[in-house]
Symmetry: C2
């Protein structure tokens, strides 16, 4: 299965635009990129988490089908990893010969929420009974995970900060990033506390954005010069609530998903040139580096600190700027990651181009890691 075209809006607080306008822009860009007409599309997968709650709009696949006149549409709502889930469902549909050319859309319009509402809405991706209804927020849960990782693996606040510094440096070269600017290590300790020890500059912000990719079978992809091939993917699960996990410093869902994806792709972690990982908080990038298998448990912090995750490092992590730099409109993120892989593997990533990029990996996590989706692409 292949991606033959990509498009997106800028991630931002789009106060002056509705969800339809965001979808329209991303889809037009994706069609342009693939040199296809909307009439060539025969199926539609739309990922969206909060349409019901924030925008009053459910069955968002119907909204998109309406806008573009496409039958055969499905909506995915599985938390932060929804965009990645949609890509996999589209790939399944093509493999099952129910589709030849599928359009995958990940969209979220979150800025209409106030700050206090946002925390409570975002908590929908945690466990309601044991976490959200007790007042736990996504940030507070990740704060506990961070503290435990710091205790067990001697990870320092300075090292955590280096994740954000690296990702902002990358985002500074990414036009679609919501936070297109570099930050200095000393900025982090000055930023507002969110949930001890996590500050604003350890945390990805929600926002508005839409990403779209066009997927096609091998026969059609052959005719396209710019493309990437999905050579393996895996989806793993863990306990929904953090307290149920034996070791909260490991994403078991991600370990499983990575194992399956690498088996299917028939390559090893060290073959990966760059990876887009789920840095919703700095700690989740570090744990992802470990749990995908790039380094051993407890070694990610030094890996980042030593610059090995930089664009010119051993394995570039989040060359796009990641969730921290780009922003995190939930269901759009998985699709955004695939777009970055498309740019990188087609040598179109400009100043943030990873040299000799051959294999790119994406990984998204829902909530605190209850679901993980890994996808591996080659040129």
């Amino acid at each position: 299965m292949n991606i033959i075209g990509v498009g997106s809006t800028k991630f931002s607080e789009h106060w002056d635009r509705g969800i339809k306008e965001l979808i329209d822009e991303a889809v037009k860009n994706a069609l342009k990129s693939s040199s296809l007409d909307i009439k060539d599309i025969d199926s539609l997968y739309v990922a969206n988490c909060f349409g019901n709650t924030i925008n009053g709009q459910g069955n968002i696949n119907a909204l998109c089908s309406d806008m573009f006149g496409i039958n055969n549409s499905t909506a995915i709502n599985g938390g932060d990893s929804s965009g990645s889930q949609a890509i996999i469902q589209a790939a399944n549909s093509i493999a099952a010969r129910n589709s030849k050319i599928a359009l995958v859309i990940g969209v979220e319009k979150m800025s209409d929420l106030g700050v206090n509402e946002a925390s409570s809405v975002i908590s929908q991706v945690t466990d309601y009974d044991y976490e959200a209804s007790q007042g736990a927020t996504l940030a507070s849960l990740y704060a506990m995970i961070t503290s435990q990782h710091m205790k067990e693996h001697k990870t320092t606040l300075g090292q955590l900060g280096m994740v954000s510094v690296k990702n902002h440096a990358n985002a500074a070269n990414n036009d679609m990033a919501q936070f297109k600017f570099a930050i200095a290590p000393e900025d982090i300790a000055k930023s507002q506390m969110v949930a001890t020890p996590l500050r604003v500059l350890h945390s990805a912000a929600t926002g508005d954005g839409c990403c779209a990719v066009v997927m096609a079978n091998d026969e059609i992809a052959k005719k396209h010069k710019e493309k990437i091939k999905l050579i393996g993917h895996g989806t793993g699960s863990d306990f929904l609530a953090v307290h149920e996990r034996e070791d909260i410093t490991t994403f078991n869902a991600l370990k499983y998903a990575s194992k399956v994806a690498f088996e299917k792709a028939k390559i090893k972690p060290h073959n990966i040139s760059f990876a887009e990982l789920h840095d919703v908080f700095s700690i989740s990038e570090l744990m992802s580096i470990e749990d995908v298998g790039f380094v051993k448990k407890g070694e990610a912090a030094r890996f980042v600190e030593q610059g090995k995750a930089n664009i010119d490092g051993e394995i570039s992590i989040n060359p796009s700027g990641g969730l921290k730099g780009c922003g995190h409109p939930f269901a759009a993120t998985g699709v955004r990651q695939a777009i970055e892989v498309f740019y990188q593997l087609n040598n179109n990533a400009g100043k943030r181009q990873v040299k000799n990029a051959k294999y790119g990996l994406t990984s998204t996590l829902s909530g605190t890691g209850s679901t993980a989706v890994v996808a591996i692409f080659s040129k």
Copy 2:
């Protein structure tokens, strides 16, 4: 692709139970029906519309993965047809060899909403910009559709009532039905007005319920005595808002979905023994009978009136009792329909058994028909 086991809760107002308890019961019943252990399941598709809004629980696939220890889970949220969408995605996953045995769950826990809240939440499946935000409810939109159908096709209130009378008569023999009792034609005019001319007894009620089916590839299904085979399916789309449609008395999405499904199944509408159609309001059963192609446009009302849609009629429509008799916990409905087909084609439907049933069809609609999913099964 095959269904090899089915299970459900009773549809009801389950005030004393949470969404997890409902899921647990349905899944246990489905596993028992399939003589499989939970460890045999390798993937999970969960359909749910209102978890975010009503239950504070997003990524409901993670909740289910947690409960049952299953990796490879995906959540579908595409309005009333979500359950049917999930069955198709599971079938795709099996066809794409990403799964051998998949569990599909459709669940909704809606009774925690008050009556006034319910109308506004349900409106999420209509068009927010042009309908819901203007105060239109699902019932008021179907009322307009009903009035237009009555005007154009001389459909009478008496004929509309016969849909409910038939479906309640069938539900009286269905233990899982929320409204397991017969009604008389004269009861309908006495029931409360919902949106002129639609009364309570023309309208399906929301509620709580969970349905689960186990799906497997042909090789595995061979070993199972009780099973049904998915031989064709289609998904169609129409304008999301009613006012945009040229003819509001036709479900264009359903016409398209049926055409595709029949082409794949290589049979014709007259080959169908019975059909589970989306009678969210009586008018939608009549329009569905027409748009699936069982009768010509405008002839469904007489078809029902003459008893041709009865259990012993030409083509039995909603032998289960339909949405009217069983209740309509949104995302559970599409899965419930497949369960009825499983019972009927395996000759296990008891007093509501359709004689010599060979082919069964299911059809769900999202909102006022923006999405339609049709599936055709054989023994």
